[in-house]
C-alpha cells in the first residue's frame, strides 16, 4: 500500500463509530446546563424508598409507589429509581446553598409499549438560592428549549402537579403539524423538600426541572418508535454520526 500521496489511490474511508443518540442527546443537554452554571452530580440507580419517595414529599399512599409502577428489589428493601431526583436530594444533603446540580441517567418504571419502556433516561436539575422564583424558572426553561429547538419555537407553560414542586408546570412546544407536545416538567421546589434536606425554606427557595431524553431525541431525530433506540441495530446507530 503506498504511503505517499498518490492521486490514483482512493481516499481511505475510516469507518468511525457513533455515540448512542440517547447519550448524545443527554450530553448535549447537560453541556448546555453546565454552561449556564450547573454542576453534574451522579447517584445510584438502585435507591431506597426514602430517597426516591419520602424525601421528595411523595406520600406512602402515592400511586407511583405501587408495585405496578415501581420496580422493587430484594423483598422491597430497595427499588430501581423512578427518576433522577434522588441524586439531587443526596447533593442537597451534602452541600449548602447556593447550589445548582444536574443529574442525568437511567430511570425505571413498570411500562412497556411503543412510547414507554421500563428503562429510559432523564436529565434533572435543581437550583437553590435566596429569592429563586418561578419567573427565573421560566427564563431557564426558555434557554433550554430555544437551545434545543431554536428561538422560533412556540412554547407554553401549563399548571401541573408534582409532589416535590409547588407551583408545578409542564411545558409544551408547538410542532410543525400544529400539535402541542409535552417536553418537560418543572416547578418551584416544594419547601417541604428543602426542609427534608436541612435547608431553611424561609431563607432559600429553589427551582427544579426534568426532561425525558427519549422524548426529545424522538422529536429531534424523527424516530416514532422508542424501541428502535435499544435494538442495537447498526443500520440504526450508523445514522447518528
Amino acid at each position: 500500500m503506498p504511503d505517499h500521496k498518490d492521486i490514483t489511490t482512493p481516499e481511505l474511508i475510516i469507518d468511525r463509530g457513533s455515540l448512542h443518540p440517547i447519550n448524545h442527546m443527554k450530553d448535549t443537554i447537560m453541556s448546555l446546563l453546565v454552561s449556564i452554571g450547573f454542576e453534574i452530580v451522579d447517584g445510584p440507580e438502585i435507591e431506597t424508598e426514602e430517597f426516591n419517595f419520602d424525601m421528595l414529599n411523595i406520600k406512602k399512599s402515592h400511586p407511583a409507589r405501587q408495585m405496578h409502577d415501581t420496580f422493587y428489589i430484594e423483598n422491597k428493601s430497595n427499588l430501581l429509581r423512578t427518576h433522577t431526583s434522588p441524586v439531587q436530594i443526596r447533593g442537597m444533603l451534602e452541600k449548602k446553598p447556593p447550589l445548582a446540580f444536574i443529574s442525568g441517567g437511567k430511570v425505571f418504571r413498570k411500562d412497556d409499549d411503543a412510547t414507554h419502556l421500563p428503562m429510559f433516561h432523564q436529565v434533572e436539575g435543581i437550583y437553590v438560592d435566596e429569592n429563586v422564583s418561578f419567573g427565573q424558572l421560566k427564563d431557564l426553561i426558555y434557554k433550554i428549549i430555544y437551545s434545543l429547538f431554536g428561538e422560533d419555537v412556540k412554547l407554553r407553560f401549563r399548571p401541573s402537579y408534582f409532589p416535590f414542586t409547588e407551583p408545578s408546570a409542564e411545558v409544551d412546544i408547538l410542532s410543525t403539524e400544529g400539535k402541542w407536545l409535552e417536553i418537560l416538567g418543572c416547578g418551584v421546589v416544594n419547601p417541604i423538600v428543602l426542609e427534608n434536606c436541612n435547608i431553611d425554606s424561609d431563607k432559600y427557595s429553589g427551582l427544579a426541572f426534568g426532561l425525558g431524553i427519549e422524548r426529545i431525541a424522538m422529536l429531534k431525530h424523527g424516530v416514532s418508535d422508542i424501541r428502535e433506540f435499544y435494538k442495537s441495530n447498526l443500520d440504526f446507530l450508523s445514522q447518528f454520526k
Binding site: 500500500m1 498518490d6 490514483t8 489511490t9 481511505l12 474511508i13 475510516i14 469507518d15 468511525r16 463509530g17 457513533s18 455515540l19 448512542h20 448524545h24 448535549t28 454542576e39 453534574i40 451522579d42 440507580e45 438502585i46 399512599s61 400511586p63 405501587q66 420496580f71 428489589i73 430484594e74 423483598n75 430497595n78 430501581l80 437511567k106 419502556l117 428503562m119 422564583s133 418561578f134 419567573g135 427565573q136 427564563d139 407554553r156 407553560f157 401549563r158 399548571p159 401541573s160 402537579y161 409547588e166 407551583p167 408545578s168 418551584v188 416544594n190 427557595s205 431525530h221 424523527g222 428502535e228 433506540f229 435499544y230 435494538k231 442495537s232 441495530n233 446507530l237 445514522q239 447518528f240
Partner: protein, 634 residues
C-alpha cells in the same frame, strides 16, 4: 371525567362559548379534549375537588359569575335508627346514612337528572343508583345505595385481613386478600368500602326504600384497590384523590331534593357519625412571599381578591382554606393558586444568573474512552439491565414485567453478545460495539460497579485497507496498547459453541471497571467529534440484504478517479451501501486493480435475483463506458 359544556354554561351568567371555557380550563391547569359538546377532563391527582360539575364551576368562578342554583331540602329530618358500628374510625372518621321511602318508582327523569343521562349518553341502572351517580357527577361526593329491605341486622365498618369471597353488584366475584376496609351485614361482606358495593344488598328497578351511605374514607386506604381487583370504579377514583369531609349533609339533602322532583317521598330519616371535627386549615396573609415565589408584584388586595373568588375565606390577616381543598397546605400552594389565575404564560421571565464555580468533570476518562472507541469504528449501545437467568450475586426484581426480565444483569458482555448476533443475522460482517453502564451485584450489600464492555467480530473495517483483515484478540490488544501501553487488559474469546449461529468469526470481548483505566488516556487526541446537528432518522428495512462485488482493472491511471466518482455516487433505491473493498497498484504491470462492494436492500420487498441483476448490469454498463478500464473475466 366527562363534563357537558351545557351543564357548565347553564350556571355561568356570561354564557361563554365552549372555546372560551376550554381556554379558561387550560389556564387553570385542567387538561381536556372536546368531543362534541362534552369536555373529557384529565385532572392532576391533587385536584380531587375538581372531579365534579360543581368542582369545575368553583374553579371557573375566578373568571366568570357562577350561580350554582341547585336546590336542597331544607326541612328538619328525623333521626334514623340504624344498628351501625364503626370499628375503624381512623379510616372512616365521618359517615352518614339517609333512609328514604318513595311511593312509586318514576319511569321518566326530568331536569338535571335527565340532562345528565342524555347529554353524556349514559346508560341508566335503577332510580336510586341513577340519582346517586348523578349526584357524584354534580357534587363530587360518591354515595352508595343499599336496598333497605335487604339491610336488616347489624351493619359494621371494619378492616379485615382475611381472604373473603365477595360478589360485587356488577356480578363480578372477587376474593379479597390482604388488608381491606369493608362494610359487613350480619358478618357477611356487603361493600368493599369506597370501591364497589355488593350484589346481596344492591338496589333494583323495583326498590322503593333505600339507605344511602355517604362517607369520607382516608385516600390511602382506597388507593390501589380498584387496580388490585380489576374494578372500574369512579367512586374509588374520587376517594383516592380526596373528597370534601364536610359535605355530607348538604349532599344528602340534595339527594332528597332530586328524589322529591321525581317521586312522592313517604318517609325519610338521617343518621350521622363523626369521630372528630375537621379543623379549618389556616395560613397567614403574606403577599410578599407570594410575589417572591412567583416573581411578580401584585398588591395584597389583588391577591385576596383572587383567593376569595376561589372560595378561600379571608379574615383578619388569615386565609381559611375551604374543606374541599385538602391539597392547599403552604404558602407555595397559595402561590400556585395565584399563578393559575394570572396564567403561567402571563408570568414574566426573570433573568437567571447562577454563579459559575470551578467544576470538574469526573467523567473525563469515560468520555475519552468513548471517543477512542468511536475513532476505531465502535458503536455505542445501551441495553436493558433486565435478564431472565439467575446468576450468582444477581439481584432479583420482586415484581418483574415478565419472567424474561426477572433479574438484573451481572455483566454487560452477555447483552453485547446478543447485540452482535442480532447484527450478524442482519448480514453485518464487521461488528464493533461498546457499552458503558453501572452493574449491580448483591452480596452482603449492593455493590455498584461502573464498567466498560466492548465486543468485536468480523472484518476490521469496510475499507480496502481493513476489509481482508479479521478481528482477533491481537487486533484489540494492539489497539489498546497504542493508548495505554502500560496497562494489560484481559481480552476474552467468546465461544460460539452455545450460540445460535453458524458464523465462525472470532468474537473478542472485554469487560473492565472504568476505575481501572489510567489517566494516561486523557492525553489521547480523538478524531471523532460529537455530531453538531441531530440527524433525521431514515427508517430502516428489516428485509434481507445481499451484496455484489465488481473488480476492475485500470490501465489508464487517470481514469481511477472518474470510476470512483461514478460508482461511489451511484444512486438507486435498492442500493444501500457502496465502498471500495480492494485496491492494488501493480507498478510492474502498470495496472490498478480496484474492487467495489454494492449492498442491495429494498424497504418494500424482498429482492429477487433478477432485480439485483438488472441494477448490477446498469452499473457495469455505465462503468465500462469509461475508456481504459475493464472487468477481468467479463
Amino acid at each position: 371525567m366527562k363534563i357537558a359544556y351545557s351543564h357548565l354554561s347553564q350556571h355561568i351568567e356570561e354564557n361563554p362559548t365552549i372555546a372560551e371555557i376550554s381556554d379558561s380550563l387550560f389556564q387553570l391547569g385542567h387538561e381536556h379534549e372536546i368531543d362534541g359538546g362534552v369536555f373529557d377532563m384529565e385532572f392532576t391527582p391533587n385536584r380531587g375537588d375538581c372531579l365534579s360539575l360543581n368542582g369545575l364551576l368553583r374553579d371557573l368562578s375566578v373568571f366568570y359569575t357562577v350561580d350554582f342554583n341547585q336546590e336542597i331540602y331544607m326541612e328538619k329530618l328525623d333521626d334514623l335508627q340504624i344498628d351501625f358500628e364503626n370499628l375503624s374510625e381512623s379510616i372512616c372518621p365521618q359517615i352518614s346514612f339517609l333512609k328514604l321511602e318513595i311511593e312509586n318508582v318514576p319511569e321518566v327523569y326530568k331536569g338535571s337528572l335527565d340532562n345528565y343521562f342524555k347529554d353524556l349518553s349514559l346508560n341508566k341502572n335503577n332510580f336510586f343508583t341513577d340519582v346517586s351517580n348523578y349526584l357524584s357527577y354534580e357534587t363530587g361526593q360518591p354515595t352508595h345505595c343499599y336496598d333497605a329491605i335487604k339491610m336488616g341486622g347489624k351493619l359494621l365498618f371494619h378492616k379485615i385481613e382475611t381472604n373473603e369471597e365477595f360478589e360485587t353488584l356488577i356480578d363480578k366475584k372477587i376474593t379479597l386478600t390482604g388488608k381491606n376496609s369493608v362494610f359487613s351485614l350480619n358478618n357477611n361482606i356487603i361493600n368493599l368500602a369506597g370501591v364497589v358495593g355488593g350484589k346481596s344488598t344492591s338496589c333494583s328497578i323495583n326498590t322503593k326504600t333505600v339507605i344511602v351511605e355517604c362517607a369520607f374514607f382516608q385516600p390511602e386506604e382506597i388507593i390501589g384497590k380498584s387496580v388490585k381487583y380489576d374494578i372500574q370504579s369512579e367512586a374509588s377514583h374520587k376517594f383516592e384523590r380526596g373528597v370534601d369531609p364536610k359535605c355530607h349533609e348538604k349532599v344528602l339533602r340534595r339527594f332528597i331534593n332530586l328524589i322529591g322532583e321525581h317521586a312522592n317521598i313517604k318517609e325519610m330519616s338521617i343518621f350521622s357519625y363523626k369521630s372528630k371535627d375537621n379543623p379549618i386549615h389556616q395560613l397567614p396573609v403574606d403577599v410578599q412571599k407570594i410575589n417572591q415565589i412567583i416573581g411578580i408584584d401584585i398588591t395584597e388586595n389583588e391577591y385576596l381578591n383572587y383567593l376569595s373568588k376561589l372560595q378561600f375565606g379571608i379574615e383578619k390577616g388569615v386565609i381559611r382554606v375551604p374543606s374541599f381543598r385538602s391539597d392547599v397546605k403552604t404558602q407555595n400552594d397559595l402561590a400556585e393558586e395565584v399563578a393559575r389565575v394570572i396564567g403561567y404564560n402571563n408570568i414574566p421571565k426573570s433573568e437567571i444568573s447562577i454563579p459559575k464555580n470551578e467544576k470538574t468533570n469526573h467523567k473525563d476518562i469515560e468520555n475519552k474512552l468513548r471517543f477512542f472507541l468511536l475513532d476505531h469504528g465502535f458503536y455505542e449501545v445501551i441495553n436493558s439491565p433486565f435478564v431472565s437467568l439467575p446468576a450468582e450475586k444477581a439481584i432479583k426484581v420482586d415484581n418483574p414485567l415478565d419472567s424474561n426480565r426477572e433479574y438484573l444483569r451481572i455483566n454487560i458482555t452477555n447483552s453485547l453478545v446478543e447485540n452482535l448476533l442480532f447484527n450478524e443475522r442482519r448480514q453485518k460482517d464487521s461488528i464493533k460495539l461498546f457499552e458503558i453502564s453501572d452493574v449491580y451485584l448483591s452480596s452482603n450489600s449492593i455493590n455498584k460497579k461502573r464498567k466498560l464492555s466492548i465486543i468485536a467480530s468480523g472484518r476490521v473495517g469496510e475499507n480496502y485497507k481493513d476489509f481482508s483483515k479479521k478481528i482477533n484478540k491481537q487486533y484489540l490488544v494492539k489497539l489498546f496498547q497504542e493508548i495505554l501501553p502500560n496497562q494489560v487488559f484481559d481480552f476474552k474469546i467468546v465461544s460460539r459453541e452455545l450460540l445460535d449461529t453458524k458464523i465462525k468469526n472470532e468474537i473478542v470481548a472485554l469487560e473492565v471497571d472504568i476505575n481501572c483505566f489510567s489517566s494516561d488516556i486523557l492525553s489521547y487526541k480523538e478524531a471523532s467529534q460529537s455530531p453538531e446537528s441531530f440527524a433525521q432518522y431514515n427508517p430502516i428495512s428489516d428485509l434481507p440484504s445481499s451484496f455484489k462485488d465488481i473488480s476492475y482493472s485500470i490501465k489508464d491511471y487517470s481514469k481511477t478517479q472518474e470510476l470512483q466518482d461514478l460508482l461511489l455516487n451511484y444512486q438507486c433505491d435498492i442500493v444501500k451501501n457502496i465502498f471500495i473493498f480492494d485496491y492494488f497498484k501493480n507498478e510492474k504491470k502498470e495496472e490498478i486493480k480496484i474492487g467495489f462492494r454494492f449492498t442491495f436492500q429494498s424497504k418494500k420487498v424482498t429482492l429477487n435475483s433478477s432485480e439485483i441483476e438488472s441494477v448490477y448490469n446498469d452499473i457495469v454498463t455505465k462503468s465500462l463506458k469509461i475508456s481504459g478500464i475493464s472487468i477481468p473475466g467479463m
